[in-house]
């Protein structure tokens, strides 16, 4: 290689190294423009150090306890308490609620840094929501043009983590004071903040839990069996995270607690749809941070056992009934005494010759030779209760043609009536299915087809009788049905 060329190459390489070195010395803002778009917003984003997740509880604790120092946040109004709201006390809010709410708002993000501990621009979300608390009111450019006054410093909302959180507290207290009472309106009780959390996002129909966009019977958001976020109003996202906290690096971000929900039948259920007072959601929970407890995270020991039966409410299917709990003895009472999801299961609930029928031990009947169309007083016909309006005679039209077996009691013990045929119940008979029966055609355990509003049971006498092709005779004769003994397994 030519010596001149080699020299030039060395000089060039040396220059490149110097340029790279200088670039390292000059702080280059990370590229997170998408996280911080200030278009149409009042305050430009600023650089700040992004706290790490383990630092955030330490930032939140003094704020939710309203102990952040007068110079570090806006003035917080006193807070209403008592059913009539006539008493006012120094404001504070449960830290567990505040943590969850800030997570829903910003995923605990104040600055858009590539990693915690490094510098980043203020997080500005949609609608000009700033930082941890996603403060939007007064933060739009139009607010400046309209001279919209605020009772907080808009610039410090954008540049100070503590100030931003404290402004979030200020808003929550305002929302609390401007809404009707829940229970005794005690700010220490997390459940009493339901309206305030609702209003923090939007006190409108879109967050009404009775809004038909949110499925009935939904399980808590982010918990087992929960649905995606679009199926919950805002405050239920906060409630869900309080119960089932998110994790980062495999570690839960706080200790969850089974916060109760108000009765949705009380919410805006009047024709006028006014946000009236709600009854006290039970069981309810206090957060120890209000009481000066050392730990600012939720104390798991504070989980409530409302009925004092030794089982926490979160694990008790009847938290207000001490007689019902996991491990309790099942009795014939139409209740799920042992919280296993089954009511009056087992064959020893009643004396011999008695069956447990709808919560009562009833003497077994003997088939009579009376009028086959009428069940006499002693007949035990277990029907699926129908609490609805009386219904006319059954139809037999397609596509529900009567199969060879129609009800379970047409089949012997250990068999299910499926597809018009009696097949072995996979739960009672754990043997593999017949070679000719594809496994995927089996009914999932715990599900059984009954195909009628008639007996969900089987005949005592049928177990030894030939059953193939048995017509629907037993039911027609008003023959007795005993409780179905096959207990489907759980899936």
């Amino acid at each position: 290689m030519n010596a001149r060329l080699l020299s030039a190459a060395l000089v060039g390489a040396s220059t490149l190294v110097w340029i790279l070195f200088l670039l390292l010395l000059v702080p280059v803002p990370p590229a997170h423009a998408a996280c911080s778009s200030s278009t149409g917003c009042r305050v430009q984003p600023v650089y700040g150090r992004a706290p790490c997740d383990d630092e955030v509880p330490g930032l939140i604790a003094p704020v939710c306890q309203n102990n952040f120092g007068a110079s570090n946040g806006p003035t917080i109004a006193t807070i209403k308490t008592g059913t009539d709201g006539s008493t006012r006390i120094t404001a504070s809010m449960p830290c567990l609620l505040f943590k969850s709410m800030v997570f829903v708002e910003s995923s605990w993000q104040m600055f858009c840094a590539s990693s915690c501990g490094s510098q980043g621009l203020t997080l500005i979300g949609g609608g000009c929501g700033y930082g941890y608390s996603q403060i939007t009111s007064g933060m739009r450019a139009s607010d400046l043009a309209n001279n919209t006054s605020t009772n907080f410093d808009v610039n410090r909302v954008a540049n100070s983590a503590t100030y931003n959180l404290a402004t979030g507290l200020q808003f929550m207290v305002d929302k609390w004071n401007g809404r009707a009472a829940i229970g005794t309106r005690d700010p220490d009780i997390i459940e009493h903040w339901y309206y305030a959390a609702w209003a923090y996002n939007s006190f409108s129909w879109v967050n009404n839990p009775n809004n038909p966009n949110y499925p009935a019977g939904r399980k808590p958001f982010y918990c087992e069996g929960g649905l995606s976020r679009a199926n919950y109003p805002y405050q239920e996202a906060v409630w869900g995270y309080m119960r089932c906290p998110p994790s980062r690096s495999g570690k839960a971000m706080w200790t969850g607690a089974p916060i109760s929900y108000p009765k949705t039948s009380e919410i805006c259920a009047t024709s006028g749809c006014a946000p009236g007072a709600l009854s006290n959601p039970l069981p309810n929970h206090k957060d120890p941070c209000q009481k000066g407890a050392s730990g600012e995270v939720y104390d798991p020991d504070a989980i409530v056992d409302s009925d004092g039966d030794g089982t926490p409410d979160s694990e008790d299917c009847a938290p207000q009934n001490a007689a019902i709990r996991p491990g309790a003895t099942e009795r014939c009472n139409a209740l799920d005494d042992d919280c296993d999801g089954w009511i009056d299961e087992g064959t020893t609930l009643c004396p011999a010759s008695f069956d447990c029928i709808q919560g009562q031990c009833v003497a077994q009947d003997v088939p009579d030779a009376g009028n086959p169309d009428e069940a006499d007083a002693g007949d035990l016909i277990v029907v699926v209760p129908d609490t609805g309006t009386p219904e006319p005679a059954p139809d037999t039209g397609a596509p529900f043609e009567e199969p060879a077996c129609l009800w379970l009691f047409h089949c012997p013990d250990g068999y299910l009536c499926q597809s018009g045929r009696c097949i072995q119940d996979p739960v009672v008979n754990p043997d593999p299915p017949d070679a000719g029966e594809p496994e995927n055609a089996m009914l999932p355990a715990g599900v059984w087809i009954v195909e009628s509003s008639g007996c969900g049971c089987q005949s005592d006498s049928a177990s030894s009788a030939p059953w193939a092709g048995l017509p629907c005779l037993l039911m027609g004769l008003g023959l007795l049905c005993s409780k179905r003994r096959a207990r489907p397994g759980r899936v």
Binding site: W205, Y222, T264, A269, C273, P275, D395
Partner: protein, 409 residues
């Protein structure tokens, strides 16, 4: 999402995959949207019993925000409301159309409300845009009432870029699509005074194909002005919004199904101790216009009580299928759509909670979610053969409906 979770999910899926059914090209597909927890993407997946799956589309989404979706009447086009801003329903989404057969995706509108749209026909779709929100105070109190909103109802045809505003509702609390009847769109409107159902006749071009043409009323007469409305487009006649009836027990109605001129829905019972299935006969348009059907005489009627379970009614062929709870668990029941005849039949009973999700009217299949204790599963139930088979979706999923047979490869 952690790698461990991915691996676990993958393992579970593998372990639970059922042996494939004998190929049945005529069988419909169930369209679902699946999303893993905290994942920033969702997949539109067609599934069938036997472990058959077809990945149709992968969408970038906000973590945990699975899009709302509705199928067109020919079950070929999917309308998706994808939320683009967290925690914001009002104008926080964009509306997409996805052709299930060609897999073409296009944007219809942006800044729409993040709620389910309404497929008007094979080609047209309607949606809401909340254009103003106004805080309100409770009379004689220093406490807030619910916000009042102004909502625009807009619609577009698949082949046209320009959307039209069909209606603007002012000073209401909220509005929802209940469905589309032979005579127009059925709306569920919540005002400070009441929750009620309304009928909005629409022009034929928005409701053509696989649906009988909608006749315009000959003499459009204003109905009782219970709503501040403004018809914005020639697609509906002036003052074309007609009140049908109040919701029976206040603003707690849900799970609407419109079939022909019948509306079915779930709501609390009058004593608010449980749920019930209600129905409302929607009068012919001419009767509504001529007011031969007196407003006062129309009322939603209770069909049957469904215990603690909201009924989630579906239509399967000529039958109404719904969920109901009793002391043994929960049941799927059915009865003839001709409500004057036929008894209620119990089709399936189980422990845990049931939620009916979608029906394939022609094939008598329904998709049902079952939750028991900590487990939940998606079941495909064939009502003709009384078989229930388990499908395996990812963690969060939305069931959209059954696709057109043979439309998916």
């Amino acid at each position: 999402m952690s790698l461990a979770f991915l691996l676990l999910t993958s393992t579970l899926l593998t372990a639970s995959t059922e042996p494939a059914d004998p190929a049945n090209p005529a069988a419909p597909w169930l369209l679902t949207i699946e999303q893993a927890r905290d994942a920033p993407s969702a997949a539109l997946v067609a599934v069938r019993p036997g472990g058959e799956r077809r990945d149709l589309l992968h969408l970038d989404v906000l973590p945990n925000y699975t899009p709302h979706a509705r199928l067109s009447s020919d079950r070929r086009t999917l309308f998706l409301a994808r939320q683009t801003q967290p925690n914001r329903i009002e104008r926080g989404a964009e509306l997409l159309a996805f052709d299930v057969t060609t897999r073409a995706l296009r944007t219809i509108a942006q800044g729409v409300d993040a709620v389910p749209p309404l497929a008007l026909s094979d080609e047209a779709v309607a949606w809401f845009e909340t254009i103003a929100t106004r805080p309100a105070m409770l009379p004689g109190s220093d406490e807030a009432d619910f916000d009042r909103v102004t909502v625009s109802l807009r619609a577009a045809l698949a082949g046209q870029a320009q959307a039209v505003e069909l209606l603007r509702l002012d000073d209401i609390l909220g509005v929802h699509f209940a469905g589309i009847a032979d005579s127009g769109i059925v709306l569920y409107v919540i005002t400070p005074e009441e929750a009620a159902f309304y009928l909005l006749p629409i022009e034929e071009r928005f409701a053509r194909a696989s649906r009988a043409p909608i006749r315009q009323p000959r003499r459009a007469q204003p109905t009782q002005p219970k709503l501040a409305i403004e018809a914005r487009d020639e697609a509906i006649p002036p003052s074309g919004l007609m009140r049908l009836a109040a919701a029976p027990t206040g603003p707690v109605a849900r799970e609407f199904v419109v079939h022909g001129q019948q509306l079915f829905f779930g709501a609390l019972t009058r004593d608010r101790m449980g749920s019930a299935l209600f129905w409302l006969d929607i009068p012919p348009l001419d009767d509504l216009v001529a007011r031969r059907d007196a407003d006062a005489s129309r009322a939603a009627r209770e069909l049957t009580r469904t215990g603690e379970r909201s009924p989630a009614p579906l239509i399967v062929r000529d039958r109404l299928v719904f969920a109901r709870s009793n002391e043994r668990g929960e049941a799927v029941q059915s009865r003839a759509l001709d409500l004057d005849k036929g008894a209620t039949k119990t089709l399936l009973q189980t422990v845990g909670q049931l939620r009916l999700l979608a029906a394939d009217e022609s094939a008598s299949s329904i998709a049902v979610r079952r939750d028991f204790e900590e487990a939940s599963e998606l079941l495909w139930i064939d009502l003709e053969t009384s078989t229930a088979r388990r499908l395996q979706p990812l963690e969060f999923y939305e069931v959209i409906g059954f696709s057109k047979t043979g439309g998916i490869r």
